[in-house]
Symmetry: C2
């Protein structure tokens, strides 16, 4: 894998984001932590997080060229100065989802659930980055610990768009696609003043 695609989300006593909510939407909970660090690569050895989630950015799996054109025209990058609020939402989909073929998953994701077009409505207010975890190899150091989620999405936005963000996650959770989600944690984070 080329460098720059691998990210770690380390929850614990230290980190540049403060965690103000960890809600279990469905499935097993994740331990509550006070802070979160989002790292390019592995966490350094000198921080001792309570948990670490890992993911890689990857090629488009469902988006068509026409949709990609619409997204690129509207989207903003993460890390804008006004984007002082964020969310990290790890989800897992069930075996029924993963046993479907590409055409079946695309039909549920977009033609039935309008996932791509729902996200598009909230651009550029809500910035996002999708990370894949399902096919991550297990680390040699922890061969018995598979990744607990299939995807991690990181969002950030200005406080004035907090209500719009609730609408976005609410719309997605009401879709046919979300019936295949069997674990979801909603972690809300805020950037520290001056960071």
């Amino acid at each position: 894998m080329d460098s720059g695609r691998y990210f770690s989300f380390a929850g614990g006593p230290a980190g540049s984001w403060s965690v103000f909510k960890i809600a279990t939407v469905i499935g097993a909970a994740l331990p509550i932590v006070e802070r979160l660090e989002i790292l390019d690569g592995h966490p350094p050895a000198d921080i001792a997080p309570q948990w670490v989630l890992r993911g890689v950015t990857s090629n488009e799996r469902y988006v068509t060229r026409a949709e990609k054109g619409l997204l690129v025209a509207k989207q903003a990058g993460l890390g804008r100065p006004q984007a002082k609020l964020g969310a990290v939402i790890p989800i897992r989909k069930n075996a029924a989802w993963w046993s479907m073929t590409q055409d079946e998953r695309r039909a549920i994701l977009e033609e039935q659930s309008h996932h791509i077009h729902t996200g598009l409505k909230y651009l550029p207010a809500i910035a996002r980055r999708l990370h894949h975890c399902r096919d991550l190899g297990r680390d040699l150091a922890t061969p018995e610990a598979p990744e607990p989620f299939d995807f991690i999405t990181l969002f950030d936005y200005a406080p004035e768009h907090a209500a719009a963000f609730e609408d976005l996650v609410g719309e997605l959770r009401a879709t046919e696609e979300w019936k295949y989600v069997d674990r979801e944690i909603d972690i809300r984070i805020a950037r520290e003043r001056g960071k």
Copy 2:
């Protein structure tokens, strides 16, 4: 990741397959080895391979339900007693491939290059298993060593189908899809008598 999807291909002085050819089709060569072990999981610490390639089996990326029905009806599993010959073919695709959207990659792979239907013609004589490497996380033990390939396909077949196997790889290499392959190694293996 659930267990049972992660495989290692360890080339070196030991292994249950003998290597009778390692041909560089395009890109950088891979060091010649005498034997290959194909392992479910990581190689055990007591074998010292010259190189290890890793991959995970995953969900369908291009196949439709209709195509899947045709494949499942004809395909055979790996490891049949008569399948004494095999091939391990790691490939990497270039940045142009990975920057395409799903509809663009599907159009090249199947509508232009007939990849799925070409494979179908050679079933059940040629059995195969596809492993993905591109999104594998880097091991904590070797954080600076990204996986060198995007895919590894393992094939096995009876000696009487060796010519058919040459036809299969020849047909695929002549396609539009293969113009995006920038590294390919063709490793031919044979099962030892009695193993």
